[in-house]
Symmetry: C2
Subunit: 309 residues, 2 copies
C-alpha cells in the first residue's frame, strides 16, 4: 500500500453563501473527509511508513490516536495508544477497531507522559510518537501545504490554519515553501489557549500551566512543539486569538451556510475571520478546516443559538 494513495486529497469547498455572510472571499480546505476524519492521518501515516520500528506508542485521547491506529493497521505495525481512563467510550472503540492496544491511564493518579515513559522502558524497540512535535509529523502534514499550493486558485493570498501544538501550521508553511507558493499564513488559536501567540511575542516557547479548557480540544496542549516553533516564527504572518463564543459561532455558520460538519478545533480558522474581519478585508482567504470528529451531544449543544433555553 502506497502512502500517497491512502491519503485523501483535501476537499476544497467554494461557498458563496459563506462568503456573503462574511463579506470576504473564502474557500474552505476541509480535512473532515480525510481518513479517520482529520488531518492527523497525514502525519500518522507518514510516521508509521517512515520509522523502522514495528511498534509505535503514543499518548492521545483524540484524533491522533485514531489516525495512528489506522496508519499502523495499514502499514502492518502494532500500536499502543495511551488514553485517559475518562475518555469517551466511542473514542476508545474507534482506536481498538483498528487493532491498536489501548492503555488506560487514571490521570488523577499518573500523568500521561509518565505512563508513556514507563511503556517506553518496557518496549525499548518501540518508536514513541508525539502527536505534534516530531519532524516526521511536520513532513507528513506538509503534503497538505503542497496540495494547497497546487490546487488553490492563484488569487488566494491568505491561508488560515488552526493552531494547537503547531504541527499542522508548520507542515503547511513547509509545504507551501516547497512549492514556492506565496501566501500569507495566519494562525488561529483559542484565546483560552493562546500560548502560541504569547510565544511568538516572547520570541521563545511559553507554556500553559495546564491543558487549557477550551472547547477546541485539539488545542488543549501545554505548548507548541519545539520543532514547530522556529517554522511558525518564520512562516506565520499573524495569529488571531478567538473566543469560545466565536468558535461556537463558526461551527454554526459552517453548518448553516456551508453544510459542513466541523469539530470546534476545525472551525478555529473560520472563527478567526469572525473575530478579526480587519485582518482579512479585501483578501482571498483559504480556511483550513482541520477535522470533523465531534460527539453528537457536543454538536447539538453548539447548534443551539446563544440564549436559547
Amino acid at each position: 500500500l502506497s502512502g500517497v494513495t491512502a491519503i485523501q486529497p483535501t476537499t476544497l469547498i467554494s461557498c458563496s453563501r459563506l462568503a456573503e455572510a462574511l463579506g470576504v472571499n473564502v474557500i474552505l480546505a476541509s480535512e473532515t473527509f480525510q481518513r479517520t476524519g482529520s488531518f492527523k492521518f497525514r502525519a500518522a501515516l507518514h510516521l508509521a511508513a517512515s520509522v523502522p520500528n514495528d511498534l509505535i506508542i503514543a499518548a492521545s485521547s483524540g484524533n491522533f490516536g485514531q489516525a495512528l491506529a489506522c496508519a499502523c493497521a495499514l502499514t502492518g505495525k502494532r500500536a499502543i495508544i495511551v488514553m485517559p481512563a475518562t475518555s469517551a467510550r466511542v473514542k476508545v472503540e474507534a482506536v481498538r477497531r483498528y487493532g491498536a492496544r489501548v492503555e488506560s491511564v487514571d490521570t488523577q493518579l499518573q500523568g500521561r507522559a509518565q505512563r508513556l515513559g514507563e511503556l517506553a522502558i518496557q518496549h525499548p524497540d518501540a518508536y514513541i510518537a508525539s502527536a505534534y512535535d516530531d519532524p516526521l509529523v511536520i513532513a507528513g502534514n506538509s503534503s497538505l501545504g503542497r496540495e494547497l499550493a497546487e490546487r488553490l486558485p492563484p488569487d488566494v493570498d491568505t491561508v488560515v490554519v488552526p493552531i494547537g501544538g503547531g504541527g499542522l501550521a508548520a507542515g503547511i508553511i513547509v509545504g507551501l515553501e516547497q512549492r514556492e507558493r506565496m501566501a500569507r499564513v495566519v494562525g488561529a488559536e483559542p484565546l483560552l489557549a493562546n500560548d502560541a501567540s504569547r510565544s511568538l511575542r516572547a520570541g521563545e516557547i511559553v507554556r500553559n500551566d495546564s491543558e487549557p479548557p477550551t472547547i477546541a480540544d485539539g488545542a488543549r496542549v501545554v505548548s507548541v512543539g519545539e520543532h514547530n516553533f522556529p517554522i511558525l516564527r518564520r512562516g506565520l504572518s499573524d495569529i488571531v486569538e478567538v473566543s469560545e463564543d466565536q468558535i461556537a459561532e463558526a461551527v454554526r455558520l459552517l453548518f448553516v451556510a456551508a453544510n459542513l460538519k466541523a469539530e470546534p478545533t476545525g472551525a478555529l480558522s473560520l472563527a478567526a475571520l469572525l473575530t478579526r474581519p480587519d485582518v482579512f478585508a479585501g483578501k482571498n482567504v483559504c480556511c483550513v478546516i482541520s477535522g470533523g470528529n465531534v460527539d453528537p451531544a457536543v454538536y447539538v449543544r453548539l447548534l443551539e443559538p446563544p440564549g436559547s433555553p
Copy 2:
C-alpha cells in the same frame, strides 16, 4: 458567466468507517456542497440559461426555489417563486437574498398550482418552471450522471439515487448513458411516498392523494414527473422503499461515520443500503447524497438516538 464554471463538481467521499459500518464498499457523491446546497442548482442553472424568457416563475418551498433564484441572479433574469405562507422564514429569506420575488400563498385557501396558473396569466411572457418535470431539468441534472461516469472508480457498479419527482434519477440515467457507463441505477424513496415504486409496478404513473408527510421533504410530491417516468422505467433496476426510521438512522450514520451533514432527502440513498443489504451485497456502490439543507432544529432531533428523552 458560463454555466459550466458555476456548477461545483460533486464531492466524492470515500469513507472506510462508513464502509465498515455497512459491510459494503461505498463511495458518496455529495451534492451538499453544490451551489445553494443541493443538486437542484444543476437543473435551475441549465433551465435559466436555456429558456429565452426574461422571467421565470416556479412553485417551491424548498431547494428548487432557492436554486432557481440563484440561477436567475447569475443569468440576469427575474424570478418569481410561489411559496406557502407557512414556509420557514429562513427559506423565504434565502430566496429573497438572490433578488427573487416571493409570492406567498395561503395553501388553506388556494393551491400552489392555482396561484401559479394565475401568475402565468398575469405574465404571459414568463417561463413556468417545474422543479422536476421538464426536459430542461433532466438535461441539467444529467451533468451529474456524466460526472459520475467520468470520475467514479471503474469498479463502481451500482449508483443509488434519491427519488422524489424523479428528475435527479432521470438525469443521472441519461448522463450515464451519454458516457456509456455501465452501472445499475437503484432508486431510493420513502415508504410513505412510494408512488414511484408503485408506478413502476403498475407500468403507469400512480399518484398519491396528497403530498406524503415524510421527513424527506424533497420527496413530498404527488407523483413522479411525466418526462421522468419513461426514463425511470428503462433505467432503474430497482427501487428500495425506506422507512422514516431508516432515513433518520442514515442521517445519523452520515454524521457519525462520514462527518457529512445531509438533509433527510439526501440520506435516502444510504437508507436504502440500511434497509436492503441483500440488494447491495458484494457490490461497489455510489450513494448520491442529493442535498444538505436542513433546519438546525430538525437536525438536532435527528441526531438524538431513538428512545432518548
